[in-house]
């Protein structure tokens, strides 16, 4: 059991032993994001090198890489919108057939420390849509969270998220009964300590979506050190 990046977590060991807990308690820091609110709340100045590794930004605003070498290109603040865009409507269900996800979605707010709330931890608890992100189908990055494990199993709602591949499709049913169909652009595994906030949550010029869970379980510390992120964009919508 040297696998530091096991997704199965601490319970894998006991599961292998053929039994699964009884008095499982939720730890004080689910998924253990660095120090709570480090990004949002720290009032002090921090200047530390190196900065976070530059992730590949979503096909979004800003400078195109090819132009970045020349002296600055003219950069419109609001690049032209591409692809289909839907009016706002709260998401109520996520279906990702390729990895066996079919779940109700609930709105998630923010914890007092500025981090996102997370869904419940019991088996069968739903996924969550971050209610301060665009609704899936609107312009911008809609954010949907699911736990990688749950309190009864190392295999939670989004346990198989890391299996997703570019080009796969999944759908979100919305309160207006429309079904928004998304296509996977890429899968990313990022360190929590250097979470690329703007690449994940920054503005986009399409209706995009992020499916996020945890990864990188460190057996030594019992903490989840990474996030697994599926980037996708809206390709179509229909009514069932």
């Amino acid at each position: 059991m040297k696998d530091k990046t096991s997704r199965r977590g601490r319970l894998a060991a006991s599961a292998a032993a053929g039994l699964l807990f009884a008095g499982v308690l939720l730890g004080t820091t689910a998924c253990a994001p660095q120090s709570p609110g480090a990004a949002a709340a720290a009032p002090a100045t921090t200047l530390a090198a190196p900065a976070h590794p530059r992730p590949t930004p979503p096909p979004a605003p800003a400078v195109s890489p090819s132009a970045a070498h020349a002296a600055a290109p003219a950069k419109p603040a609001e690049p032209a919108v591409e692809g289909p865009i839907l009016p706002a409507s709260i998401p109520v269900r996520l279906q990702v057939p390729d990895i066996g996800i079919n779940t109700v979605l609930v709105p998630l707010g923010q914890a007092p420390d500025g981090t996102m709330d997370v869904p419940g931890g019991q088996p069968g608890d739903p996924g969550g849509w971050y209610k301060y992100s665009p609704t899936p189908g609107q312009l911008g990055p809609a954010v949907i969270l699911g736990h990688v494990n749950n309190l009864a199993s190392p295999e939670g709602l989004f346990y198989r998220l890391h299996e997703m591949k570019q080009g796969q499709r999944f759908s979100v049913t919305r309160a207006d009964h429309s079904v928004a169909v998304f296509e996977v652009d890429k899968l990313a595994e990022v360190k929590k300590a250097t979470f690329p906030t703007l690449a994940v949550y920054g503005n986009t010029n399409r209706a995009e979506i992020r499916l996020i869970t945890c990864g990188g379980f460190d057996q030594a510390t019992g903490e989840w050190t990474e996030n697994t992120i599926v980037y996708g964009h809206l390709v179509s919508s229909h009514t069932p």
Partner: protein, 235 residues
């Protein structure tokens, strides 16, 4: 055995409370507005960066990550003065802004595009334009992360709301300039070379599509303390 409600952090009741307008995400409950800027290279700096500004009233928390800037200057970490420019066209300058044709867009030449300095993103002390050229409170080195909360002046806030705020990070590696330009003096501080004060990164500040930017990484894995005995089978 389980207290389900205790774990369900987002009550389903919230569904009933949420109401959305047609435009963008709902605003945060606390009146915070989030802005962002993707910083692009200017003058061939090959640097990259990003800025987020979370504004509640006049309290601004600025979070910035940059990399690929000039690393050293006279054997010490290169000081990169950085500002939010305001009241210009709200854009970054194009090569056409190089009016003296020396191959470098100087800070002055970029002025019509991004305007005057509204706020200095200093690491301590004054954040007004008076601190604009204080190298001691500049960002330092090739790559750095900056985070600071301060009272933002009304002019800068107005520019952010109007979409005319532009973040500019200054300081080029002199060796990357055309030979003639390497000998030029700074248009701002004649005791410094032109490279030292010329723009290296630039990005227009725009309102975020997120009603509130979440802080840090989401906690989507549960930490479990197991008092292992027999019990439920895995899901």
């Amino acid at each position: 055995m389980y207290k389900k409600s205790a774990f369900l952090i987002a009550p389903a009741l919230a569904l009933a409370v949420v109401s959305l307008s047609g435009a963008g995400a709902m605003a945060a409950d606390n009146g915070t507005t989030t802005y962002q800027a993707n910083l692009g290279a200017i003058n061939g700096s090959n640097a990259t960066g990003s800025v987020m500004i979370s504004l509640t009233g006049d309290q601004a928390t600025v979070t910035e990550n940059v990399s690929g800037l000039a690393a050293t200057f006279n054997g010490a970490p290169y000081p990169h003065v950085q500002h939010i420019h305001i009241d210009g066209k709200g854009v970054c300058p194009t090569p056409a802004a190089d009016t003296n044709k020396d191959g470098v867009i100087s800070t002055t030449e970029g002025g019509p595009s991004y305007g005057k300095i509204g706020t200095t993103l200093s690491t301590s002390g004054d954040t007004s334009d008076k601190a604009a050229l204080d190298l001691k409170v500049a960002g330092m080195g090739a790559s750095y992360s900056y985070q600071r909360t301060f009272a933002m002046n009304a002019e800068t806030i107005a520019a952010l709301k109007a979409g005319t705020g532009v973040v500019v990070v200054h300081g080029l590696d002199p060796a990357t300039l055309p030979a003639a330009a390497q000998k030029e003096k700074s248009d701002l501080v004649p005791s410094l070379p032109l490279a030292a004060t010329s723009p290296a990164l630039c990005g227009t500040v725009v309102a975020s599509q997120m009603g509130a930017m979440p802080g840090g990484a989401p906690g989507t894995g549960l930490t479990q303390t197991a008092q292992a005995t027999t019990g439920a089978s895995p899901e």
